[in-house]
């Protein structure tokens, strides 16, 4: 493909358009940036993150657009994944194995669990691979690297919302009345997102150094599917399990919100606590490793 290069009048006058051209730029008293080897404790530097919030939005949009470019079904894939898993679960676990489902129709029970799980597992997988996948950016340009795994999680939210539409339809189909508990949903979604960011960010850092993560992640995600009370509710006497597995607690709470069942506040509190703890640990690890990414990725 060749282009005829022609002189471009706009380019020549662009000097005049340079608004705020810093010809009278006054040097600040103190340096805007000091570059020196990092040592000891690092600050999370959230101000930097805030300055680049547009990048978070644009990278999220990029991830969403790229995912469905040149696909036939496009965003339908967001529904297909949990829907078909739900159908298979219904046949094998619901019909054949006769798993209990808390007196909720099994398809609805499975879908309401698969929905947050699909979001969480995709978000963790994508953000876990995100740094390595964007190595061209990391070795060439500076910006707060945390934005990359965050954008991967944020991009998953759209899929979640699309698939959520089907859940609403199912709730109507099975005529499950909505209760005031539904108001907890936004809180649960935020918690799940934060947990996904925490775990995903942590995985992404490990992945930079140890490519084992790439192979381990799908496996861990598969195990998680069975260990998070998606197929069948976690038995009453296994409450401790919900305390140590925040995903299980969140999924149970998600169902409780949809079906108007009582919340297990204790396990939910534990999940919130673990989420914050994981998030901080991951952010700290991330920050500590961030500056060597370009050298080892």
């Amino acid at each position: 493909m060749s282009l005829i290069v022609k002189e471009n009048p706009t380019a020549d006058v662009s000097l005049a358009n340079l608004k705020g051209a810093p010809s009278e730029y006054h040097l600040p008293e103190n340096p805007l940036t000091v570059i020196k080897p990092s040592s000891g404790w690092v600050s999370l530097n959230l101000r930097d993150l805030w300055q680049y919030r547009d990048l978070l939005y644009i990278l999220t949009m990029r991830d969403i657009k790229v995912r469905y470019k040149q696909t036939l079904l496009g965003a339908l894939w967001a529904i297909i994944q949990p829907l078909f898993t739900m159908l298979i679960f219904t046949i094998f676990f619901g019909r054949l194995a006769g798993m209990p489902s808390d007196n909720i129709p099994y398809p609805l029970f499975a879908y309401a669990g698969l929905l947050p799980w699909t979001f969480f597992s995709n978000a963790v997988t994508n953000s876990g691979n995100s740094l390595v996948g964007n190595s061209n950016l990391i070795t060439k340009i500076y910006f707060p690297r945390m934005i990359i795994p965050m954008a991967s999680v944020a991009a998953g939210l759209l899929d979640f919302l699309i698939a959520f539409g089907l859940l609403v339809a199912l709730l109507f189909y099975y005529s499950v009345g909505l209760s005031v508990h539904i108001l907890m949903l936004p809180v649960l979604i935020v918690l799940t997102s934060l947990l996904a960011i925490g775990v995903g960010m942590w995985m992404s850092v490990l992945n930079v150094k140890y490519r084992d993560v790439r192979y381990a992640l799908p496996f861990i995600v598969q195990l998680g599917l069975f260990a998070s009370g998606i197929i069948t509710p976690i038995p009453e006497n296994w409450r401790w399990f919900k305390m140590i597995n925040p995903v299980a607690a969140l999924i149970e709470a998600f169902r409780a919100a949809c079906f108007g069942k009582p919340f297990d506040w204790l396990s939910l509190a534990a999940a919130a606590f673990l989420t914050v703890a994981i998030l901080f640990y991951a952010a700290y690890t991330f920050k500590r490793m961030e500056k060597s990414f370009a050298d080892i990725i």
Partner: protein, 413 residues
């Protein structure tokens, strides 16, 4: 005046091998961790980590509005310096103070996503370079016009030609409004016309008081654009001065000024090789610059275990731009097969080569079969004008050789 960039005692060390491999596996790391306690007992031994000093005690300051060139050979540390300045990697020791925002353009199309369209990539790229969305929207038309991609705005950039790619990338970066712009060699791609445009833009940008750091291998571009240039060598600043001073020094140091050649020991294993070569004037005095009206003699001594059949010794004369002027071959079949040494002398008659710089390349070879030895650009010489009518307008290109054309003029009635 207060500098906008201050670099103090900057060092960067890369560990080669050791723990910091390209990437390690978890297993290796676990084993390493398990071994660590035992290492204490081996303290006496010196840690055998291979380190590479990419930057050594680099110090310099840049005043606001200056355009600084950074030159040096490959591996001199230019890219490392730019990477540290743009916060991609961190120094091992030392300190940089930046009194302005930095935007860096280290590679063409950084952050472009091949699946996205030109329009989408402008926003993506702008955001990555630190622009706000509204800022990009304001400059959007200008960027598109500068890049000359109007028609392809909604085509995924994976279908762009490399030229379009570069233009778009540069256009976005050039419309940033940082106080400090870091540009690395991006202009190497793209056609001459666009290069000119980019240079013009950078010139403009610097006139608005912004500071530019510019890395290039093209001395012409550096000379055109930068008032001051820093020369890096093996990670250290060897010169930091007016551009013409530094470029002169660099170019001359870069050029091997050899007027004779002697083979090193490694050549001796060949069946035939060039042992030495030298260049003389008519009086057989070795020299490296010649009047245009004197003949040039090149004497090449070769050694051999045996003379291979049909072997020839070729001499190639190239000009300063590596353009071959002519080639001369000497057939060696007249030599006895068991000769151990021989010499070939070439004579370039007077008034053949025009005043210019030239280099000589030699090759021992059997036509269509084998290159026994090839030594490129081993002898350099120049020819100066000792009074032709062209001397008055020196610098114009009259070609590489004196015209052998005979001219006759007649009046047509």
């Amino acid at each position: 005046m207060k500098p906008i960039i201050r670099v103090e005692n900057l060092n960067k060390q890369y560990k080669l091998g050791g723990e910091q491999r390209a990437y390690s596996t978890l297993r290796e790391s676990l084993i390493e961790t398990a071994r660590k306690p035992f290492k204490i007992f081996k303290r006496g031994q010196i840690e055998k980590t291979n380190t590479f000093q990419a930057l050594k005690d680099v110090n310099f300051e840049v005043q606001p509005g200056e355009v600084i060139g950074i030159i040096g050979r490959n591996g001199a540390g230019k890219s490392t310096l730019l990477k540290i300045l743009s916060r991609i990697t961190e120094p091992t020791s030392g300190r940089i103070e930046l009194f302005g925002r930095v935007a860096s353009l280290l590679e063409v199309g950084t952050g472009f996503h091949p699946e996205l369209t030109g329009r989408e990539n402008i926003f993506l790229n702008g955001a990555i370079l630190g622009m706000r969305r509204e800022e990009i929207a304001v400059k959007f038309d200008e960027i598109v016009a500068f890049a000359e991609i109007e028609r392809f705005l909604d085509t995924p950039v994976k279908r762009y030609s490399s030229g379009m790619y570069v233009r778009l990338a540069f256009a976005v970066a050039a419309h940033l409004e940082p106080e400090i712009l870091i540009v690395d060699e991006v202009l190497a791609v793209g056609d001459a016309e666009f290069q000119k445009k980019c240079l013009g833009k950078m010139d403009e940008v610097s006139k608005t008081g912004r500071t530019i750091l510019f890395v290039s291998h093209q001395m012409g571009t550096i000379a055109q654009l930068c008032e001051r240039t820093i020369l890096l060598e093996k990670g250290a600043v060897v010169m930091n001065d007016k551009t013409n001073v530094v470029v002169d020094y660099y170019v001359n140091q870069n050029k091997s000024k050899a007027s004779s050649y002697t083979a090193d020991a490694s050549a001796a294993h060949r069946e035939m090789y060039v042992q030495s070569a030298a260049i003389y004037n008519d009086a057989m005095v070795e020299q490296k610059s010649f009047r245009h009206d004197e003949a040039i003699h090149i004497r090449v001594k070769c050694a051999a275990q045996r003379i291979m059949r049909n072997a020839e010794l070729r001499m190639v004369v190239k000009d300063g731009r590596s353009i071959t002027v002519f080639t001369a071959d000497a057939e060696l079949n007249s030599l006895r097969e068991n000769s151990q040494a021989f010499a070939v002398e070439y004579t370039i008659p007077a008034e053949i080569l025009r005043p210019n710089n030239y280099s000589l390349t030699f090759a021992l070879f059997i036509p269509h079969q084998l290159i026994i030895e090839l030594i490129e650009d081993v002898i350099f010489f120049s020819i100066f004008d000792a009074g032709t009518k062209y001397a008055l307008s020196e610098g114009l290109d009259y070609g590489l050789v004196f015209s052998p054309c005979e001219t006759s003029i007649e009046e047509i009635v």
